[in-house]
């Protein structure tokens, strides 16, 4: 309940959205990567977020003060996860050095499961969420300035 609580919370959100943007940029940059160190084509990454507060939220009508989470402490990045579920894109290109040599899919190249449309929509969502957090910081500062004007 300090002077800068909401600004600090908004800062965690802005940092998380910046990381989402970085991950989207990495996905877009690697949308044609057919070769990785771990083998196979590139897989798209996604960011998993969680609240910064570790104590559980109790749905009791009355709580001891030390169990009360209050307003929360913002957001934290849990992990950057590889999307192994989405299907890889198959393109027939037998002369490609990474084309599949044997089996029923011979001559096909596995391209990453990055969908540029999805990534662009995610990018718009991330930048709008960043703007919303910046609006929170500005609003908190405007409230603070209004409080200083009391009695002037």
């Amino acid at each position: 309940m300090g002077m800068f609580t909401s600004i600090n919370i908004a800062a965690t959100g802005m940092t998380a959205e910046r990381l989402r943007q970085d991950v989207i940029a990495d996905n877009i940059a690697n949308q044609s990567t057919t070769r990785t160190t771990e083998g196979g084509p590139f897989r798209r990454s996604r960011v998993v977020l969680r609240p910064r507060t570790d104590t559980p939220y109790f749905r009791l009508p009355f709580l001891p003060d030390q169990w009360d989470n209050g307003a929360g402490e913002g957001v934290r990045v849990k992990e950057i996860q590889k999307d192994m579920a989405a299907e890889l894109r198959l393109v027939y290109d037998p002369t490609h050095p990474d084309a599949i040599k044997t089996g029923p899919r011979e001559g096909y190249v596995e391209y990453p499961n990055v969908n540029p449309v999805t990534e662009m929509v995610d990018l718009i969502a991330a930048s709008r969420a960043y703007e919303a957090n910046a609006a929170i910081a500005n609003g908190a500062k405007a409230m603070f300035m209004k409080a200083l004007e009391i009695g002037r």
């Binding site: 002077m3 009791l60 001891p64 003060d65 300035m145 200083l148």
Partner: protein, 128 residues
């Protein structure tokens, strides 16, 4: 009212340990059902003043302590700006601007308090 919910006689070890350190709250296996901030209650007890650490602080000490905090904000802001110029990869833009906004806000409240003090002094010496 808490007996309605049956939590009156339940023993919560962590809760009762935490509560023993708070002088104003009930002890033992009784849960504090108040969700109010203790600062909302009228009057002040010595125990509460000791807990908040503001009991015997003179205005001068409080002011110096607050000025230290304001100075720390300024130092944070200038460190962030410096880092932004020397190593832009190491810090986000919004961290810099937020540090600057914090420094600005804390300096503003200091200026407001000081101008109120000066105003009070002027009001006093103009008493006739």
């Amino acid at each position: 009212m808490s007996s309605l919910f049956g939590i009156n006689n339940v023993s919560f070890p962590s809760a009762s340990q935490g509560m023993n350190s708070n002088a104003g709250l009930p002890k033992g296996d009784r849960l504090a059902i108040s969700r109010l901030d203790p600062r909302h209650f009228a009057g002040s007890t010595p125990a509460r003043e000791a807990a908040e650490g503001t009991g015997s602080l003179s205005f001068e000490n409080a002011m110096l302590k607050a000025l230290d905090g304001v100075n720390a904000m300024q130092v944070d802001s200038s460190n962030a700006t410096e880092l932004m110029m020397t190593d832009p990869e190491a810090i986000d833009v919004h961290d810099v601007t937020i540090a600057m906004a914090k420094a600005n806000m804390s300096l503003n409240i200091t200026r407001t308090v000081l101008s109120r003090v000066v105003q009070a002094w002027r009001d006093l010496i103009n008493t006739r």
